[in-house]
């Protein structure tokens, strides 16, 4: 099946103070190089990707297939610092990918960033997220006629939720900023919020099937309902067996009540499985690939990693 690899941002540095670490630049350079070498199409620029400035990012990705995206980062003159989006075709689908960064918080304000904004380096301004995304999505839908829109949202979770709730024309919002790890895809108003995992420990795998138009349906709901239904069926069989053998009237009554409750649960799950499990239309299924010790390393990449972080070093 055709594959598109995308990064939601905050990939390059551990923290905003990472610029002081002499290996930070080497790590960030290696990561950008490897994202490109591994065929990533795009990455959003997050707050923690800006530690060494915009020029570092541009220099490291000059001529690369990997595109760094941000619909709302501008310089002091209001000029956009990165492309807002990229359009690519895969599996016969024209996919529009938008990147967005946090809106600038005022560093002088106590608790700056609590509203979903973030403090950005001097000379870089993050414009409001939602209008920037809305304008780019409108352009992608009307001018580029894309089939699918994915927003790589390198913004705080609260901002990503607001974005997903109100972003007409967006199918998926992939959020990165707070290191929230893995989770379920959540329908938020008009689009679906997807957690991408964190710290290189897993890859989120979203299998998409598109036939016609309309909202996407989460196949995992019906899959979960079917799995739960099997467990409840097994419980029903066990309780029924006990009921057959039981002679005590009080215990029989209790078992009958339990049986009725399991049967009601089974019927509800069957309805969920039937209602949310279409084989046609627009569907998705989210899973995670864990990148543990059982996943073999590429020896050439490992050598490059060990040049930056030798085995036994603090970071390894």
């Amino acid at each position: 099946m055709p594959v598109l690899a995308l990064d939601a941002g905050n990939a390059l540095f551990k923290s905003l103070a990472d610029g002081q670490d002499p290996t930070a630049k080497l790590r960030a350079g290696l990561l950008l190089e490897q994202l490109g070498a591994q065929g990533y199409t795009a990455m959003a620029v997050g707050q923690r990707d800006l530690v060494l400035g915009v020029d570092f990012l541009k220099k490291k990705t000059k001529g690369a297939k990997l595109k760094l995206l941000s619909a709302n980062l501008v310089d002091a003159k209001g000029q956009r610092l990165f492309p807002a989006s990229v359009v690519t075709t895969a599996g016969g689908l024209k996919v529009g990918i938008v990147g967005v960064s946090p809106a600038s918080a005022d560093p002088k304000v106590p608790a700056a960033g609590a509203d979903g904004s973030a403090v950005l380096p001097a000379g870089i301004q993050g414009q409001p997220v939602q209008p920037a995304v809305a304008a780019e999505v409108k352009r992608l839908r009307e001018k580029e006629q894309v089939d699918l829109v994915v927003v790589l949202a390198a913004v705080p979770y609260v901002e990503a939720v607001r974005l997903a709730q109100g972003a007409d024309g967006v199918d998926f919002v992939v959020q990165s900023h707070d290191g929230r790890g893995v989770g379920m895809a959540q329908r938020q108003g008009v689009s679906t919020l997807v957690p991408p995992g964190e710290r290189g420990r897993q890859v989120a795998k979203l299998e998409v099937s598109v036939e016609g138009t309309g909202p996407f349906t989460d196949l995992s709901e019906s899959n979960r309902a079917r799995e739960s239904q099997k467990l409840v069926e097994a419980n029903i069989a066990r309780v029924s067996e006990r009921l057959k053998a039981e002679k005590d009237e009080a215990t029989r009554r209790s078992l009958q009540e339990t049986l009725a409750s399991f049967q009601a649960r089974r019927d509800a799950l069957a309805r969920t499985a039937a209602a949310t499990g279409p084989t046609v239309g627009r569907t998705y299924l989210l899973s995670y690939v864990q990148l543990g010790a059982d996943v073999a390393s590429d020896s050439a990449v490992q050598q490059q990693v060990e040049r930056v972080e030798p085995p036994g070093s603090a970071g390894h």
């Binding site: 594959v3 598109l4 990939a11 790590r27 990561l31 998926f172 997807v194 979203l206 299998e207 998409v208």
Partner: protein, 41 residues
């Protein structure tokens, strides 16, 4: 094109339209990597 030829063309193309499979794609996402190059699981 005559109506008969049009109808014939329609019949010819019908299996292609009827058999059009949904378009499938796998999107792989990473995020919040935080400078990690040697994750320890």
């Amino acid at each position: 094109m005559s109506p008969r030829r049009l109808a014939a063309l329609g019949l010819l193309l019908l299996p292609l339209v009827a058999g059009a499979a949904p378009k499938k794609l796998v999107l792989l996402f990473t995020g919040d990597n935080g400078g990690e190059i040697a994750p320890c699981g």
